[in-house]
């Protein structure tokens, strides 16, 4: 049994940054995965990401992308070599250690996953309380396709659920507490 992490990264309260957690939620409700595959809403981890990824056979991260080189909604993929080539900068606060630095730490410790892929879409807005933008919503099917494609490449069995018992909602847009009499 190969251990594989599919992690959604981002802040659900900040517009398009909710993309990662939302995609993971969609995958959970629409598919069943073979044993060993873990899906997780990772939030906005800093160095804690190191021990979520270290020692896994493969890691697929879904995240929103910040770049001016492509329009919002463009789906981009970064493989292990590309992620490791981002040179870490001097950091002032504990949030600064980002994906690349956690991978470099795992590499130094000798337990970096064999396969690492970051899949995401370029974000349009990161305003508090805003839903996902049309551009990013339009990219979700393609992102899910890319995640499934990577799982297929890794030889992982995935089945579409015939009836989805739970609807994938954005919980952060709901009223959660139900008053009991």
């Amino acid at each position: 049994m190969k251990s594989i992490l599919i992690g959604g990264m981002g802040n659900v309260l900040l517009g398009d940054d909710a993309l990662g957690p939302y995609v993971v939620h969609l995958l959970e409700t629409q598919f069943t995965f073979e044993d060993g595959v873990q899906l997780e809403d990772l939030g906005t981890p800093a160095l804690d990401l190191t021990h979520r990824i270290a020692g896994q056979h493969a890691v697929i991260l879904v995240d929103c992308i910040s770049t001016e080189a492509h329009p919002p909604g463009t789906v981009l993929e970064y493989d292990k070599t590309e992620l490791l080539s981002v040179i870490p900068t001097q950091r002032l606060d504990p949030h600064s250690p980002a994906v690349s630095e956690c991978l470099l730490a795992a590499e130094m410790l000798g337990n970096i996953p064999e396969n690492v892929l970051l899949i995401g879409a370029v974000g349009e807005r990161f305003d508090p309380g805003e839903p996902l933008s049309e551009a990013v919503l339009g990219a979700i099917d393609k992102i899910i396709g890319a995640v499934l494609g990577e799982l297929w490449r890794l030889g992982v069995k995935v089945e579409r659920k015939t009836s989805s018992s739970a609807n994938a909602t954005e919980w952060w847009a709901e009223r959660l507490c139900v008053t009991t009499a």
Binding site: Q90, L92, V99, C177
Partner: protein, 566 residues
């Protein structure tokens, strides 16, 4: 001629700390701390059910999710005058302690140790000599020659690759680096081990909280952990035993490694007991309640003005009347509308961005003030306030630290030397030792209480229709955190979070008084202004943390420090 240096590490799209210092003849003559992104997340909470608030507030931040959840449920409980069952207090306390131990270990090793440790000296070290040195300092069993050599080989492998990988961001070979190759190797070995032990602390949070980040077991009025000693799916003896053994390992690491390493660094950089003091007003709130009404605590709180330790004033409750009345936020130098300082219950968050202007507005962080004065918060504040009040546990570990530093380096430190960059590191290690001891105490309190047959974990909240106000406090790893809520018609009318880093990273106020980061940098000598390692040492000693909760991946790495002649 004065030079201005900007340290602005753009690793994410937004929401990080920026420091500007003016340097005259290689000494810092002025400083500005600013946060580069407005969040205004509190606005999302207006109109929501106050019982839901904690699930949203723990998404403010990706590092301290737990602390914002805790302060939020406490604020609503305070507004509703709701007591919390003993089991719930102990379970919450264990989560808070485990999270803080994790956070303090990571802060020292992963986030600031390499300001003092020169990685490129490590290949020159003799592992056998380093091992002998380690044995003279601590009974820790993982200081063997072989373990040290394995760590040295990791550094050699990274250095041999020609690229520095994880170490590409340091000021190696800087003249302010003073440790011998052996001490550098020892500290680095513990840097690697720290990754293992901080994870064990997080596992405790995960077991009790069901998940981390973003614990799931809180509820206004208690916790949602079902207690059943015979059930594997509830909180039973097997899970409690797992927590006990994880905590035992973390406690050992904190007391035999982290505490000793901080004392050793302090002994070898004694000048740094004289650098980096800044604002000497201190504030801490009491935490780790011992009864359901939260009237007794294991960590003391209070405040100190102008370094007057003898004049310390204590707080009796988590939301002491003096604390409730004395907090305001000033926005004269922050990018918000408004003139007068406002109390958080009346707080406004209307943006007025102008761009960075040294004499005008320059930060998204408001300037919180206590009776109109800036306050330093964090472990140093808590240790000084506890020590001055004669709190036995604080005195025990503070005195131990003073003795250890003297034994290693012959440096006679006093509690007054704690007003410094090193003092903040020492205080954090002292606090970690206190928390390590308290972790075991609160585990025992929980087990004893359950053994009496008390399985209660929750008191149901009743939301009144009239307007009520509450404040929830928590002495978080970075200091005093307070959430302020106004509830009307069963909905949130106003919500403000005054976070530790707002106190410490605050900009100047209407009187022109510097915030703690800014004040601490004044008069710091810099060996090489273009490589401002000394500025990083002092800023890192606060354990800075902006409300940086956005996580878009930025594929471009960027430069960090720029210098220009004024």
């Amino acid at each position: 001629m004065a030079k201005r240096i900007t340290i602005d590490p753009i690793t994410r799209i937004e929401g990080h700390l920026r420091i500007d210092v003016e340097v005259d003849n290689n000494v810092v003559s002025d400083a500005w701390a600013s946060c580069t992104m407005w969040r205004g997340i509190e606005k999302i909470l207006r109109g929501r059910d106050p019982r839901d608030a904690w699930l949203f507030t723990q998404r403010f931040c990706g590092v301290c999710t737990t602390v914002h959840a805790m302060a939020s449920v406490r604020s609503v409980e305070d507004a509703l005058k709701l007591e919390v069952p003993l089991n719930a207090q102990y379970i919450r306390n264990l989560i808070l302690i485990a999270h803080a131990l994790h956070d303090h270990i990571v802060h020292f090793y992963q986030l600031s140790a390499l300001d003092w440790v020169d990685v490129l000296q490590i290949p020159k070290a003799d592992p056998a000599a380093a091992s002998r040195l380690a044995e003279s300092l601590s009974p820790w069993t993982r200081n063997s020659k072989n373990e040290l050599k394995a760590a040295q080989d990791r550094v050699k492998a990274v250095a041999a690759s020609g690229q520095l990988g994880i170490f590409a961001n340091g000021y190696w070979g800087h003249p302010a680096m003073k440790l011998s190759p052996e001490v550098n190797l020892l500290a680095f070995t513990h840097y690697v081990q720290a990754l293992e032990y901080q994870r064990k602390a997080l596992q405790v949070v995960g077991i009790l909280g069901s998940k981390t980040p973003h614990i799931q077991n809180l509820t206004v009025g208690g916790v949602a952990n079902a207690i059943d000693l015979d059930s594997q799916s509830a909180l039973g003896m097997d899970k409690l035993e797992m927590i006990r053994s994880l905590l035992a390992e973390v406690v050992e690491f904190v007391q035999q490694v982290y505490f000793v390493d901080v004392c050793a660094v302090a002994a070898m950089y004694p000048d740094w007991f004289k650098i980096g003091s800044g604002v000497k007003n201190y504030l801490a709130v009491p935490d780790l309640p011992l009864d359901s009404r939260a009237t007794e605590f294991d960590l003391p709180g209070g405040y100190i003005r102008n370094a007057d330790l003898a004049g310390v004033k204590g707080f009796n409750t988590a939301a002491d009347p003096v604390f409730r009345q004395s907090v305001t936020e000033d926005v004269v130098h922050a990018y918000y509308q408004g003139e007068k300082p406002l109390h958080p219950w009346n707080g406004e968050t209307e943006p007025a961005f102008t761009g960075w202007q040294a004499e005008q507005k320059y930060s998204w962080v408001k300037a919180p003030r206590f009776n109109g004065e800036p306050m330093q918060v964090g472990p140093l504040a808590q240790v000084l306030i506890g020590y001055s009040q004669g709190h036995p546990l604080t005195k025990k570990y503070t005195n131990m630290a003073i003795e250890k530093v003297a034994a290693i380096g012959g440096v006679q430190a006093t509690p007054a030397a704690l007003h410094s960059t090193l003092g903040r590191h020492a205080a954090r290690a002292i606090r970690a030792c206190m928390l390590a001891e308290l972790a075991q105490k609160h585990w025992q309190l929980l087990v004893d209480n359950i053994s009496k047959g008390d399985y209660s974990v929750y008191n149901a909240p009743v939301l009144p229709s009239h307007e009520v106000q509450g404040v929830g406090t928590h002495e978080a790893p970075r200091g005093t955190l307070s959430h302020w809520v106004v509830i009307k018609d069963e909905k949130i009318k106003n919500y403000q979070a005054v976070v530790p880093s707002t106190w410490n990273a605050s900009p100047r106020d209407q009187a022109g008084a510097h915030g703690p980061y800014e004040a601490s940098l004044l008069h710091t000598p810099l060996a090489r202004p273009e490589e401002p390692l000394e500025v990083l040492r002092t800023v890192h000693s606060f354990d800075p943390c902006m409300a940086c909760a956005c996580h878009a991946f930025d594929p471009a790495g960027r430069k960090i420090a720029t210098a220009k002649i004024l």
